[in-house]
Amino acid sequence: MTQQVFAWLDERLDLSGLRAFVADKTVPKHRHSVWYYMGGITLFLVGVQVATGILLLLYYRPSAGEAYESVQFIVSQVQFGWLIRNLHSWSANLLILMAFVHLFSTFFLRAYRKPRELTWITGVLLLFIMMGFGFSGYLLPWNELAFFATKVGTGIAGAVPLVGDFLVRFLRGGDDVTGATLTRFYGIHVAILPLITTVLLAMHLLFIQRQGMSVPPSVEKREKAGEKIPQEPFFPNYVLHDVMWWYVALAVLAALSLFLPWELGKKADAFASVPAGIRPEWYFLAMFQTLKLIPSHVLGFEGEMLGVLGFSAAAGLLLVMPFLDRHAADGRPSKVITAAGILAVIYLVVFTIYGYLAA
């Protein structure tokens, strides 16, 4: 029966070619191979987000008057609603964590070097999009903490020179964070960002399939010296490895969802006083803490503006990294860029912890 179905499809779609491609595809195997799975875990978590997000959409109501109550209804009344909401919240955080791990492992293994510049660029853009998902999704339960954090977060956009005021109004859908902001963020979260993600993710995966897995420069050097680098079949070996890691991620997610359920807090009230401990999600905390530490004026310029410009410049540099580290393709990666990467990791870790302790 299965063979009959396959034959029917094969006749129309030429599945034999695809099967041959998968059967012949191999993946290099070396001591850094474990980092390859970080991308796979990130992809799995994206899948969890899509699945749980669609289920949440069935009950969520995106208005200032109903959003909080609808989430409350989901976690208290809907069968397994608590699990879906907690999976969505925890998976979002693990997804960004794994995306960062994937980014830095790719960075230090110089996987971005020629000819994989476009894979890197689509990956960095995907990370930014994931952070955009986090920022827009944080407001959707319409609770007090998210409301004021969004007020602060969107306000920072006002520091961008020339277009700051426009950006703030664009993000908020008005002068202040209101129900209009919630509706706007909802639209961004469930339509605009998923559309961009689909395109970028498709490109990212297509590039990987097209160009195959990168090997670290040290392994490549050995290969050029005539050493044969072991390969393993993509299917089933590599796929089974990936699936095993996905199961581990699923177990972690399930345990976190049960033992550390995501709090809903109090409903947002624009007239309430700002609660203590306002802070963004952890992945924005290092930036937030840095902006807090920059003096209000530096050499005649607004400190916040300089901070925002600095982060924008860092994001731009990250995006064009393959073109800055041009000799990496020749097996001579820049030591300055390695040092900058290490400093960036230290900075992110230290300032995130500092941000938590300061709050």
Binding site: P233, N237, A254, L264
Partner: protein, 432 residues
Amino acid sequence: MATWLRNLIGPAHAGRYVLAGAALVLAVSAPAAAQPAQASGCETCHQDHPLPALSAPARAFGQTDVHRERGFTCVDCHGGNPNETDKVRAKAPATGFKGKPSGQAVIAVCTRCHSDATLMRKYAPKQRVDQGAEYATSVHGQQLAKGDTKVATCISCHGAHGVRLVSDAKSPVYPVNVAATCTQCHADPEHMKGYKLPDGSPLPTDQRAKYEKSVHYAAMTARNDLSAPTCNDCHGNHGAAPPGVGAVTNVCGTCHGVFATKFALSTHSQIFDKGCVECHSNHEIVKPTDALLGTGQSSLCVTCHSDGDNGFKAAATMRAEIEKLKAAIDRSHALVATAENAGMAMDEQTLALREAGNHLTLARTEMHAFEPKAVTTVLEAGLGITAKVDAEGQAALDEVSFRKTGLAVSLGVILLVVVALALKIRSLKTGD
């Protein structure tokens, strides 16, 4: 301005107000036309007078004074001619000079304006003009009429010079300052010597000390609740007098209306001479507790009731029922907290427990009718709420247990799959 006022009021007009009130308060702002008075000739000499008794009033009036701010000057109360530079001619009888008013003269001076509705309308249209009439009914006013000059007149409470609005926090009659103002005299044993209560006993001077232990004083000072009662809220201000034994319930009922209504329905209202005071005291009203009810050692009921009588049984029943609901609420709170700590959403149950708490409060109110049946009815409704919360709390804990079991099973299955995958991967490596 002064001439205009004298023409308007005139000495004959002033004579109509023999016993008049104290309030010098202008509660609303003066018309735009009213301008602060310029320093008069009186102040020119008095402000630098070597005798403090003569210079202090002029200086106080020259600073913050509600009358001065509205254009009144020294002559409006004291008479005299401020334009005359010679002291003798300035105070000549023809100038209407009155000197320093005291006793009834103070009342007459103040009420000349403050009992004149036509005049007061121009400065403070909403302000009452019956202070003089009220004062005449007060113990102060009655004693003054008998010739007792030790009693308080308008200036004793409001001051004579440097008079401030009641709404001014520095005014001696601002709510938080009233107790201190009254007890300038009432806490002074020497001053109060000779004054007696209706039963002939000496008038006590410990009212302030007791009041400062009360729940009312705590509300006024610790919570800054200016609506909390102070001396004048129970005794009146211009018509200050003890409420009288029959009127205590009415006085307390001005704020505690429901309690007063329930008490009025009770048998005790026919028996208790002093109404609320019988159980709650007067000046030293501490926060009531459930221990006051019942048959225990701290109970007030056993003061009159003894084992076996109906009142004793009623007190025991009401207390026992109240304790039953309290215990049920505590139990439910603990259950809800356990479920919340386990990650369950228990907002509705927390709200329901607040409603159960309201029933407890209602029962404590209902208790003032001293009818156990009515109290029990209210408490049973509260117990119904706690029973429902308990059921929901238990269901939430069962759900937590179900989730944990589900997670354990899921993790077990996942672990098996991971192990199976690991074994399969190993077998692929070894080429088996």
